[in-house]
Every structure is written in C-alpha cells, then in structure tokens.
Symmetry: C2
Subunit: 301 residues, 2 copies
C-alpha cells in the first residue's frame, strides 16, 4: 500500500504548497483522492501515470478539494484517453463538470461515469475481488465524506514444507489456499490448519478530510492500518475549529488513539503555519505513531 501526497494544505494553492490531493496504490489499483487546483501538474511532478487513474474520489465540493478536477478530466481528453473514468463525489459534481465540458465544447471521448453521493451513513461505493471503498460520513460545513479503502482478505498461506511432506500434488494447492482439507490416497484427512497459515493481514486506509472532531466515525475506522486525519489548526488556534468545521492536531490524535489505528498521518494544515513539525509534536502528546504529510511525500505500508 503506497500513498503519495500531491497536496496537503488547506484553502488556496500557493507557490510551493498545493491543496488536497493524494494517490493511493492498493492491490494494483491507483485511486486519486480529492483534486484541488494544480493536481494534474502535481501528478506529472510525482510521475503518476495518468492512464492508470480509473477512479477519483472527491470528499466535498470546496475548491481546495475539487477545482482541479475539470482540468484533469479535460487533459485526459486531450491525451486521447479511451478507458472509462469513474468519479465519486457529492451530488452536484456531475452538473459542475459537465456544464464546463459543454461550455468549452469539449465532451470527452472516453466514458465518464459519475457516482453522486447523498447518503449520510457509511456506504460501499466501490467493490471488486480485491478491495472495497466505503464512505466515512464527516462533519464539515458542507456535505462531506471521507473514504475507507480496505483490502479483502487474501487466500490462506501455503506452508510448502508441510505440503511437500505429505507429497500432495500441486493440483490441490489452489483448493488448499481456499481453506479445503486434503484427503490422502490412503484415506487419511489432513486438516487445512496443518497445511496453511492465516491470510496475511489486510491493509486499510481511512482518509478523513475535512471534519470537525467527531467520535461517530471511530467504530468504522477501528484498527485501520493508516488514518489520514485533517489537522488544520494547532492548539494556539483551536478556538477556530468549531466555527470552521476543522480539527486540531490533538483532536486528530485523539481520534487515532480511540480508534487504535496503526499510523496517523496529519495534513490539511492552515497556511498560516511555517513549521508543520509542530503538528506532530502536539499530536504526539496523545498518540505515538504520527507522521506529517507534505507535498511530494510518499508513505509505504
């Protein structure tokens, strides 16, 4: 599981910082999450192959999470894309994008599928044999979802030495990995548990930006491998959290601690701060495993 931060600052793009966008690689999928202005340039800078992006998830329709989408869709068109693109986001996203495509007389040649979100509870919005993506309802100033990406459990892991001990033919390996017992030629039954180990633990990633402090989501994100949680403010400005619908570093860490996640990544910093390491310092007073996102940073888990 690999996470590339294209942008992780709030509000407006600046010369050296980008608004929210990130790329999650999980089980051979490349998921683009949020798409602030300048995302297409950040994708180029971080050498993400445009053609591998098939699913884009937009948390909410504030500009710093969304204004780069129309440009990216248009560039896909100019590059001659023909594979389908799926866009998941709040109701209204389809009208905003299609209106601009219409006005520029530039309808895409590739299939463009919008999946407009309106539910206020968690909802599975993508699923295949390897991964599920579920919305995480967030509390912000406008309708807003986080996204929970979770691998599906893989097959059981074959213990090769054991299987070879019993001289089991390779033709049975597939069914053993699926959990089947084996009946030897002499009628002896070898229980699956003797031949395999549990599947490797599934990895999961919860993206939560933007949101005020809200414990309602804790149950849903319990024990995820990685939680990205916005931390717009430091303690010095925590009085702004309620009004703006954002969280402080300590609030993000409190969610991480209560949900017992593996690692917390902080981001969505207010551009008023020069030094983002202080976010980590403050979060560490509550939770140990804290990383700070920064534009261009890559996390592998």
């Amino acid at each position: 599981m690999k996470l590339t931060i294209l942008g992780c600052y709030s509000a407006t793009p600046r010369t050296f910082t980008n608004p929210t966008s990130q790329v999650l690689e999980i089980n051979n999928h490349i998921f683009l999450i949020d798409c602030g202005e300048g995302t297409q340039v950040a994708l180029r800078r971080n050498k993400v192959k445009f053609s591998r992006i098939k699913h884009i998830f937009i948390s909410h329709l504030h500009g710093d999470h969304f204004f780069g989408l129309i440009g990216l869709v248009s560039t896909f068109r100019l590059l001659g894309r023909d594979t389908p693109l799926h866009i998941y986001g709040p109701q209204g996203i389809k009208e905003a994008i299609t209106l601009q495509l219409k006005l520029s007389n530039s309808w895409t040649d590739f299939p463009l599928h919008f999946h407009e979100l309106t539910h206020t509870g968690p909802e599975i919005i993508f699923e295949d044999e390897k991964v599920t993506v579920q919305t995480i309802p967030l509390q912000h100033r406008v309708y807003c979802n986080g996204f929970l990406f979770r691998e599906k459990p893989g097959e059981r892991q074959l213990v090769l030495s054991k299987v070879q001990n019993y001289d089991i033919d390779i033709a049975y390996y597939r069914s053993i990995k699926k959990g089947k017992d084996v009946v030897l030629e002499n009628g002896e039954v070898i229980p699956n548990s003797e031949l395999t180990l549990d599947p490797r633990p599934v990895k999961s990633y919860a993206f939560c930006s933007d949101t005020r402090y809200d414990e309602a989501k804790i149950e849903q994100i319990k024990e995820v491998t990685v939680l990205y949680h916005e931390s717009t403010f430091l303690e010095s400005h925590k009085h702004l959290c309620a009004k703006t619908g954002h969280s402080s570093a300590i609030e993000a860490a409190t969610i991480a601690q209560k949900a017992n996640v593996g690692t917390l990544i902080l981001g969505h910093y207010s551009t008023r701060y020069e030094n983002i390491e202080i976010f980590k310092d403050e979060a560490n007073t509550v939770f140990d495993h804290v990383e700070v996102a920064d534009d261009g940073k890559v996390f592998e888990f």
Copy 2:
C-alpha cells in the same frame, strides 16, 4: 504600459509551463487577461497584488484560458476582498462560476459583476477617462474574443519655457493643457499651439488568442503599439491550423505586417515544441519586430 506573461502555452498545464494568462498594466489599471489553471499561483510568483485586479477579461471558455478563474475568485473571497470584481467573457461564464460557488456554499462577500459577451462584432466593453477596452472578434472553434486596450489621448504637453516667457500664471496651466489659447493682460492672444506640444502618442495593446488566420481584424488593430497574436504551430505543422482554429508563426507575422503594428509578441505555443525561439525565426521572415512570450517574462512599452 507593462505586460507580464503568467502563462503562454496551449492545452494543458505542465510542471514548468502554464496555460494562457497575462497581466496588462496600462494607465494605472491592472487588467487580467485569460485565466488558465494555476493562474493564482503564477500571480503570486510574479508578485502581482491580488487586490489591484478589478477587471478580468476571458477570451473563450476553453480550459486553458478559463479553468483557473473559479479558484482565483474563491481565493479573493478567502483573502477577505471587499472591492467589486468585473468579469468579462462569453455567455455561460456566469453560470459556470456561480454554480461552483453555490455548490461549495462559498458565495463571495464582494460584489461580483459578470459582463457576458455575445456580439459578433467589435464592442466597447469597458471605458473610463483614461482607457477603452474593445472586443476583437476572433475565429476559433468556439465563440472567442480578443481584446483591444487603448489609452485615451492625454492632455497637451506644456512647454514650460514658453509659458514662463510670457509670465503666464500657473492658474492657467490646466486650461492650456486642455488646448485653450491664453489672453495676456495687454489683450494679446497667444495661440495654444505656441505653448504646447501634441499629447504623447497613445499606447494600445491588442490581445488575439486563439484564432485561425483571419484578416478581418486587421483594420481594427491597425498600428497598435503591441499585438499579442497566438502562434500555436510552426511551419512544420501548419496543416493543423485550419482544423484546430489556430495560427502559425508566419500567419501571426503576416497579420502584424498587414496591420503595421509596432511590436508582435508570439505565444500560445503547442507543447510539442522544445525551442520557442524558432517561432521568432519563422515570424521574422515576414515581420521584423517580433518578441516571444514566455512564462514570467515582462514587456514594457
């Protein structure tokens, strides 16, 4: 008259090149012309004060001229702007911007005036005591206007030595500059022509992007101080001009030569070319006074 090129490449923004946007300073006005994605960052990089921009002119609604506008408007709002902003552009521009402001629940606190253009002939769209701005109808794949910025003639220039010779009181200087003759105390009339020189020549700037080769505009832009004319293609790709509604460097130079302009600035280069100096070489075969635009370049006239 000062022109700052924020971006001058066609199609899509890239790591080191920006789509079309430029800032024209003329008679204390700061006019923003076109606004491709990333324009707000380019404005910061070129240290243009956001608050001085009061008028934005959009040639057409293709993304590389327009997709940065919503982000800039939103940033004005976030910066607490309260002065009015005037946006001039093709019909539809108001719906595209206001829909996105509505979806993000971020209506501006400052007055936002849209001036939607539909005329197919030249039209004066801005005028004050110092400057006029007129549309230049262009031939592109969608409805598109260039813009002609022209100073109004200033006052006549006082020849101080002459005025002092006649011992004329300073109280009369203003009326002399406006062209009035002076009657001395002894009744003698001093004709204005003896006391003043003609006003300094007015400067003018014609912005023409995007357009196929079209001589119809020549009369309108005759003898402008500076013509910016798109030159998307070199001779090697001139067969693409008609289909895409663009011009070659030689076509741009031909317009400049026939309109007898002071200086031609080339831009809107296709991103297929590595070396933009070749545009100048080709244009120079037809017209002498050629400059090549490039991102961050400043021209003073």
